[in-house]
Amino acid sequence: MNILLFLAPFSVGLGLIAVAAFWWTLKAGQYEDPVGDANRILMDDPEDRPAA
């Protein structure tokens, strides 16, 4: 059962990473403009286009 002493904190640590990641997305303003972000992926980036 000693493996528990390793596995349990490990799984909690994984959970903490997820919380930290969420905190980062919140802080980085990724929920400020959900509609705009959804549309921005459709916009062509001018630099990506081959030179005409």
Binding site: M1, E32, D33, V35, M43
Partner: protein, 724 residues
Amino acid sequence: MALTYEVAGRPDFSAFLRKREDGQASLDLLVRGARCAGCLAKIEREVQALPDVASARMNLTSGKLAVAFKGASGDPARVIDALEKAGYPAAPYDPTQAQAAHDREGRRLILAMAVAAFGAMNTMMFSVPLWAGLFGQELGPATRTVMMWFSGAVGAPCAIYAGMPFFQSAWRSLKARRANMDVPISIGVILTLVISFSETVLGGRDAYFDAAVSLLFLLLIGRWLDHQLRARARSAAGDLLALQAPAAIRLDGQGAEHRVPISEVQPGDVLLVRAGERLPVDARIVSGASELDNSLLTGETAPVAVAQGQLCRAGALNLSGVLKLEAVARSEDSALSAIARLVEAGAQAKSKYVQLADKAAAVYVPVVHTAAALTFAGGWALGLGAREALIRAVAVLIVTCPCALGLAVPAVQITASARLFRKGVLVKSGAALERLAEVDHVVFDKTGVLTEGRPTLIDPIPAAVAMAAPLARASRHPLARALAAEAGEGTMASDVREHAGLGVEGVIDGRRARLGRAAFVGAPDHGSGETELWFGFEGDTKVRFRFSDALRPDAARTVAALKAKGLTVEVLSGDVPAAVGRAAAEAGIADWRAGLSPQEKAEAIEALAARGRKVLMVGDGLNDAAALAKAHAAMAPGSALEASQNAADLVFSGEGLSAVAESYDLARSARRRAMENFGFAALYNALAAPAAMLGLVNPFVAALAMSGSSLVVTLNALRTGGRP
């Protein structure tokens, strides 16, 4: 309405520029009409192409464009021009009205929710073996204690962090010597944590760490929904107001125009008000003549002629000429302020309204806490031992969790608000919906509410209309426009000259003609008091056109619908009796009163309230603002003035009045769902509390029962407005 300005005049918007931390100037604009990726790309490209713009970022969700300039100053008018040319009308957005930009409270709630979710899941991971142990699976006492320690190590910090919004609110309310919903929640959570720890230390069987964290998670969902509802209403209301000409045009010594926020206008400033704009503050006319539409101030539909030296009130709409005025008061001291004070008094009365959830909490809290205390005392007296008795008492507190109160009502209200939002109705708060559901009497204002608030021609004679139309088409006066609208497309008179406050003159088919006031056209002035326009060729007979304010197309239907629901309907107006009587009769309303001052309207509402009536006031003018604030519930159309929108609980946009009946239906439906949820919660508690008292509840049953009951009330809330 977007700001109207002439490009040639190049008004100066620099008062709207903001200094950023790095010293560069930035500007916030509210852009209308942007919907898709194409719009987004076009707007940002057009604005970024301007020489002095460093960057432009459009937020499609809020419709706001943030522009950063390269230097410490920039030219906002150029940005607005560029947007206008691209097909997107824009208005400078006064950031002082946009307090919602940094929604700290919302972020804190969402982070607390994330922590609670993490805590609930990870505590549950250790609880599952514990639960299995309850059902006779092999779980030695040593392993059980280890699991309980793990559970506590993860659950307790999460519960303390996620519970902070509740603890703080409870503490604030206790300091004010009151008890709100958060007091029992805080007591329950803290007691649960303490008992669970002591059981862990003493090597006991029951630890409720997972229950404490999941309770907080569920309650935080409710709290966050409620916050979202209010934040969204606030920002949408802010947008409406930002579009309502937040600027005044100030003239400097050289006669150059500067657009400044209304709050910066000082007495003695010389202001310019063009036709179609509203007077920003109380002011005296320096030069120019025009007609003013006071309908939002007093409810009168007939325009009033004004000339040099006359004092005009803030909020009046300039109809025809260009006016140069000298401000005599600041915005806060203008005639509006008296009305604003009345509004404030009414709003205070409204804040005393006790919400449904708080009413339920007032019953729930003493009952549950008495039950828990009795369990402890009874258990101890019957020889259970202090420890077992305390565990049972805590089980009572946990299992009778106030989820129905904390989650079910916000869930119902957000569902109802979302449905109304899709119909173009903005709900300002959950309490507003509750009050709306209670009304039994509806009071309408006439101008702009029952009617469309703009004149239409009555009994038109086609030949006469066709004759006057070429001249009417050349004028911007609302009466002339109504005449032109009746005539349809056609030719325009030549050599047109507009005489401010009098009428318009021009040449039709080589003959000189005039359209306007009786004296201007040369007709005998009977002073009939009716809204009228005269037309005549020079030296020929004069024709009269009569106008009235047409009823909204669905006014009569809405009134009938409200009556069918058992509500009584009345009209209170500031307009003349003849006009009010006619509109009331057309709408099918027997009770009406005319010629009321703002004060009298508010008093009429108070008198109704004193007789025990719960009044819904629907109004748009400044003269309604006090009455709106005094009424039990209030609605205003989106075209209403700022003060009225602030005083109203619900704001509806669009042409129809049917929003009033629809909102009432939805409010009733929301209340029914909330009551059902309370009924369910009462039933659940009536079963769960005795079970906990008898010691039948273990941590597994508590976790199942709590999340199950929350799920049921939430699903029921989603039915709101779906079926009557």
